[in-house]
């Protein structure tokens, strides 16, 4: 396992930038998905209306989350589903381990679920002596390699086919190949045996419909259908924010999610599961257990700005659009959720102490907000969290490197902007001394003893101040006429 964490974001990012293979792969993926998303959105005449409507539905759900959850649960319970409530990841894992133990389960197949990544379920199951296999091809690859996902939609985007071939040769004993079809069919054949032997299937949930108690899951590979159809027991892990009010609302979300994620009009499969099967001889599991996970989500409801984070439908569009993600990829974020949405969700789920570099991992360009199908104002959220870090968080966070300086700098800036004489004076002083650091008409990397200027210029050039200020020019021009 790699031990990259959010605490070391700055170093992680530097390491990623030095990895030219990774950057090439990221460039291909993000630009391809970006183009496809745009074409798919343009293929609908009412894209903007759909976004507005989707966001309105999500806002309605979040403002009445308790009621919608109650409806959803009572409908699904009436159809035979069993519910379990987890305040945090550890509780969710304990519930699932108990369910597995009670059913003497020895082997579990899993389909891709961000929520179970969030709770580190696999670690807990393995500790309990239960074998768990990821069945999504990308997830399977990184499980074999003992790595973590680097993209929400394409988890193994950081690996080349050659690396995957070597991995398969080593772990599955196939002859070396660089044929993607061969690699895919190898995974298919290996995983078939796992599906046949599994006692329990664990999946995530994309949407839970309050009025019918239906859970909806989207995919392209078919492993989710296998996971939820073959084993005798199905456990679905669902974040409490995943509810939509009406069956009709699915029309909107099923138009937005695949188009935003991969540019498809629909993913290959959508499974709509409402409770358990009606007759014992029908296909499908005997029991359906739904684990409802809070893990910090309810807290985010307490402020309209943070509440937006819960509207996210995990499409991945903001990752592909983000100039920071495009350069460094998912691992640098050191958490399950990467990219712009990760930079706002991770600190809220895990607390600011260990994640305080993340809200700064953005140039606030706004590309994420432009593409987000539910119109989450991510730049505003980032600023909100930065504010929390400098103003409201614990003394340890506040006094961390750079934060005191940041607070001081903005206080001084405010002071100067309110007093023209102070502004003029500082500009004059700056002009006088900048000669020390200007080279070739720009301020490049300056030595570390210059303090904040060194920190700022370590990653970017700064334009020197003009010899004559605008004020001076204006005054002399006025004098001429």
């Amino acid at each position: 396992m790699n031990h990259v964490t959010s605490e070391t974001f700055d170093e992680n990012a530097k390491a990623a930038l030095a990895d030219s293979q990774l950057r090439g792969a990221l460039r291909n993926a993000t630009s391809l998905f970006g183009k496809r998303r745009l074409a798919a959105a343009q293929g609908l005449t009412n894209w903007e209306d759909l976004r507005t409507q989707a966001r309105a539905i999500k806002d309605d759900v979040l403002l009445h989350l308790d009621q919608y959850l109650e409806n959803f649960v009572s409908q699904a319970e009436a159809r035979g589903a069993k519910f379990h409530w987890a305040r945090d990841g550890a509780e969710a894992n304990a519930i699932i381990c108990r369910l597995a133990a009670e059913r003497n389960a020895r082997s579990i197949v899993k389909s891709k679920s961000m929520t179970t990544e969030e709770t580190h379920l696999n670690v807990a199951l393995e500790a309990a002596g239960i074998q768990v296999i990821e069945t999504d091809l990308g997830e399977y690859i990184i499980q074999l390699a003992e790595e973590t996902p680097s993209h929400i939609i394409v988890p193994a985007i950081h690996k080349t086919k050659r690396q995957i071939a070597e991995l398969f040769t080593q772990e599955l004993g196939i002859p070396p190949t660089d044929d993607v079809a061969k690699l895919t069919s190898t995974a298919r054949a290996t995983l078939r045996d796992r599906f046949a032997a599994a006692d329990i299937g664990i999946s995530g949930v994309n949407f839970g419909v309050a009025e019918t108690g239906t859970i909806v899951i989207l995919e392209n590979e078919g492993n989710i259908r296998l996971t939820t159809s073959l084993p005798r027991f199905h456990i679905a892990v669902m974040g409490i924010e995943k509810v939509v009010p009406r069956f009709a609302d699915l029309d909107i979300f099923l138009k937005l999610l695949p188009r935003s994620g991969t540019g498809q009009r629909l993913t290959t499969y959508q499974s709509f599961i409402t409770g358990t099967k009606q007759n014992a001889f029908d296909d499908g599991p005997e029991e359906l257990h739904v684990v409802m996970l809070d893990n910090g989500r309810s807290r985010m409801l307490a402020h309209p700005v943070t509440r937006q984070s819960l509207a996210c439908i995990r499409c991945g569009a903001c990752l592909n659009a983000c100039p920071v993600y495009q350069q460094i990829g998912g691992h640098a974020y050191g958490s399950v959720y990467p990219g712009p949405i990760g930079a706002v969700i991770t600190p809220q789920l895990m607390g600011l102490e260990k994640t305080q570099q993340l809200p700064y991992a953005s140039s606030l360009c706004g590309a994420c907000r432009e593409v987000c199908p539910v119109k989450i104002d991510i730049p505003r959220l980032l600023l909100h969290l930065r504010g929390e870090i400098t103003e409201k968080s614990s003394p340890e966070v506040q006094q961390a490197k750079g934060r005191t300086m940041e607070r001081f700098a903005f206080k001084m800036w405010r002071l100067m902007m309110l007093r023209p004489w102070a502004y003029n004076l500082s500009a004059r002083v700056g002009r006088l001394f900048q000669g020390l650091v200007v080279k070739d008409g720009k301020i490049g990397r300056v030595k570390s003893f210059v303090g904040p200027l060194a920190a700022w210029t370590s990653g970017r050039d700064l334009r020197p101040l003009d010899q004559k200020s605008f004020r001076d020019k204006w005054a002399s021009d006025q004098g001429k006429s």
Binding site: R79, T135, G138, N220, L226, T268, P304
Partner: protein
């Protein structure tokens, strides 16, 4: 004990939700950008309405765009002929098509019995442990969506859940009259049922992945070949 502690967790979560929402009331009042869902969303209706013939064409075009095969026929005996051609062709490939599973629809069984091909095994709705031993699965599709080339499989109407999923080839028979134009229309129909079916699956093309270097590979976990025979039922 376990029961009780989980009830406590449920209560704690609901309390936290209600507490947080109450705390944000004041801030919400100031929030100009807050969106509100005015009324229940209506299913999105199509802009232009197509007739059955052009819905069939549209369905075929969109299914083929996602690598599915579509055969349009006019009568029941054409369906048998189409089944024969598909299976006969597959028998010459590595997919073999010698072991055939069908859903428990009696009409499907009757149709397949009329197909003049050699088979090694034939089974109606095999169970989870048996279904891995088949090359081809044949089912009905309860509806189609023209705008996306999508099949609607409703497993309360026939046992099609595993037969349509596990064998490497899925052949679906679809009546032209059950093709609707949009996803919204299909969802509206599914919702109208007295009780929403326990398992409904939308299928758009064969199984696919692009998880390795974004290279498209067809047939990763689900069927790698999808054939849809659309019957216009002109003899009736």
């Amino acid at each position: 004990m376990e029961e009780r502690s989980n009830r406590n967790s449920r209560e704690a979560i609901f309390e936290s939700i209600r507490g947080a929402l109450a705390a944000s009331k004041v801030l919400d009042a100031k929030e100009s950008e807050l969106h509100h869902a005015a009324e229940a969303a209506a299913y999105l209706q199509p802009g232009i309405k197509h007739d059955v013939a052009s819905l069939v064409e549209l369905f075929k075009e969109n299914l083929e765009a996602v690598d599915g095969h579509c055969i349009i026929v006019e009568t029941r005996s054409d369906v048998v002929q189409a089944l024969y051609e598909i299976i006969n062709k597959l028998q010459g490939t590595y997919l073999k098509a010698k072991r055939i599973a069908v859903s428990d629809s009696s009409e499907i069984e009757r149709l397949v019995n009329l197909v003049d091909v050699d088979v090694d095994t034939f089974a109606v709705a095999p169970t989870a442990s048996e279904v891995f031993n088949f090359d081809v699965g044949i089912t009905y599709a309860q509806a189609g969506i023209a705008e996306t080339g999508t099949l609607v499989l409703d497993s309360s109407r026939e046992r099609n859940r595993l037969v349509s999923l596990v064998p490497p080839v899925h052949i679906a028979i679809l009546n032209a009259s059950s093709i609707v134009q949009t996803l919204g229309e299909a969802l509206a129909t599914l919702r109208q049922a007295e009780e929403v079916s326990p398992i409904i699956t939308l299928v758009t093309g064969p199984s696919r992945t692009a998880d390795i270097e974004l290279t498209l590979a067809i047939g990763v976990h689900g069927p790698q070949e999808l054939y849809v025979i659309v019957n216009k039922n002109l003899e009736e």
